[in-house]
Amino acid sequence: MKKINYPFKREEIRDLRVGDMVLISGKMYTGRDAVHKRLHEGTKPPIDLNEQIIYHCGPVVLKDKKGKYEVKAAGPTTSIREEPYQWEVMRDYGIVGVIGKGGMGPKTLEGCQKYGCVYFHAIGGAAQVLAEKIKSVDNVYWEDLGSPEAIWELTVEDFPVVVTMDSHGGSLHAKVQESSENIFKENL
């Protein structure tokens, strides 16, 4: 089990390899479909994303009686929908990590190599285990996109993920896809 702590450094991200189980501590920002669309259309992000991690997640967030936000459930959403945009966010804003589920395609993998970023796979559906790792909700941006689509600034501790795409061209998803397709063909 590896650990990475905030502030994240691009050099340590370059050290990660496919198959590494990693515990992340520190800051991360949620961002999913509407955020990526807005960034792609040219709107600047409301925070500095350099050496930050984006989490593909639309959490269940409630406000308590004192007006404080509380995350009730926060697992990853399917990442492949951001395939057209993710590499641009790496190029333009310098993110070093993307957390999501289901993996991403060749554009993202190329972006990871070129700009120094990795894809962390969180366990899909594990909304409670992951919500427990969120220690605080520090801010929210672009709330006009609706609660699940807004950018939530979170502080996490020992957030469990697996590296499935690294910054050296390695992709577990490409590998599993290829081998499973071969076995499928044998069974046709």
Partner: protein, 335 residues
């Protein structure tokens, strides 16, 4: 885990009993309020509370038949692999969601109600109470704000809007009302697929072997994107709409049931067995369990059409059901 679930349900039942006791004592003490209280207790319709409890239970507790296969899948994976790691987190998540009474998955999905009711049942009135319960469940965080206006992108209707929730009514010959609920997340819904036979690319003809080929193709295409290991609901035949509806209804079957049609039973077993050879594994990490089950149903078709509709359900297979007794109070849990 199974024991815990029963305990939670009992606790709820107990709560209701306690409430009644309190009412009794108050009645004795305050004679003035007696008449009104009595009236209120007598006429109190439990439908709203029952539906809210059904939603809470569905969103936060995985039914026994599903927990059982998830645990079996965990034990099948090799030690110290990412597949085992994923299954262990899934197990911990199921336990934690139940303990905290919070959503198993943050995507609380399309809200699908299946209502079997006797003759003379008032569907519109029932629908109104369903809407009220859904809004309350959203305010309480059992459901996420999950219903987006497709034109404006706004997501603030508390899950009640065109097409949401999706309620399917069916009249049956029994005297009681039965309400089933399924919460189906978007990730798994997105990897559903519909094929029409013949399919030249897959060399799939208009027979059960052709059906088998296209189902397996859907499994390979889904990879880990639908939060595997998953369960397939499949409908052979129907038009495009009816096929997808039927494929989801197949997911109401218990995981350990047996298809009464011998050929379909064989097909279901074959799909699970073959898919688990693919090595896609939990979350698509590679591993031994790709599918936890497959349920196939049949509809008639037109001579010109041969559809195979496939709905993929993630491991966070949230479905529950109740039968309603007097005053629409929950009488029995169905899963």
């Amino acid at each position: 885990m199974a024991k815990k679930k029963k305990a939670t349900k009992k606790k709820v039942a107990k709560k209701k009993v306690t409430k009644k006791k309190v009412a009794k004592t108050t009645k004795k003490k305050a004679t003035k309020k007696k008449a009104t209280k009595k009236k209120a207790t007598k006429k109190k319709d439990g439908l709203f509370d029952s539906l809210l409890e059904l939603i809470r239970q569905t969103s936060t507790v995985l039914p026994d038949d599903i927990q059982k296969v998830v645990l079996e899948a965990l034990h099948r994976e090799e030690k110290n692999t990412t597949a085992e790691y994923a299954m262990n987190i899934i197990k911990a998540n199921i336990e934690l969601a139940e303990k905290k009474s919070q959503p198993i998955c943050q995507d609380t999905g399309t809200i699908l109600f299946y209502v079997n009711h006797p003759e003379g049942f008032k569907q519109n009135e029932f629908t109104k109470v369903v809407h009220k319960a859904v809004k309350k469940a959203t305010a309480l965080g059992y459901l996420r704000q999950n219903s987006v206006d497709s034109l404006t992108g706004k997501n603030e209707c508390m899950n009640v809007g065109p097409g949401h929730p999706d309620i399917h009514f069916h009249e049956h010959k029994k005297k009681h009302i039965e309400v089933k609920l399924m919460l189906k997340g978007g990730g798994c819904e997105n990897v559903g697929a519909q094929y029409k036979l013949p399919d030249v690319g897959l060399d799939a003809g208009r027979d059960l072997d052709g059906v088998r080929k296209v189902i397996l193709d859907a499994v390979v295409k889904a990879q880990g994107k639908g939060c595997g290991p998953g369960v397939l609901g499949v409908a052979i035949g129907g038009d495009r709409g009816a096929g997808y509806v039927k494929s989801k209804e197949m997911l109401l079957r218990k995981l350990d049931d047996t298809n009464s049609h011998p050929d379909l039973k064989k097909l279901e077993e074959n799909i699970v067995e073959t898919s688990n050879k693919f090595g896609i594994g939990p979350m698509g990490f590679g591993g031994k369990t790709t599918l936890l089950g497959c349920k196939v149903g049949v509809l008639n078709r037109l001579p010109a059409s041969f559809f195979v509709s496939i709905s993929y359900m993630c491991w966070a297979y949230r479905r529950q059901g109740i039968t309603l007794g007097n005053n629409n109070i929950i009488k029995k849990w169905l899963y």
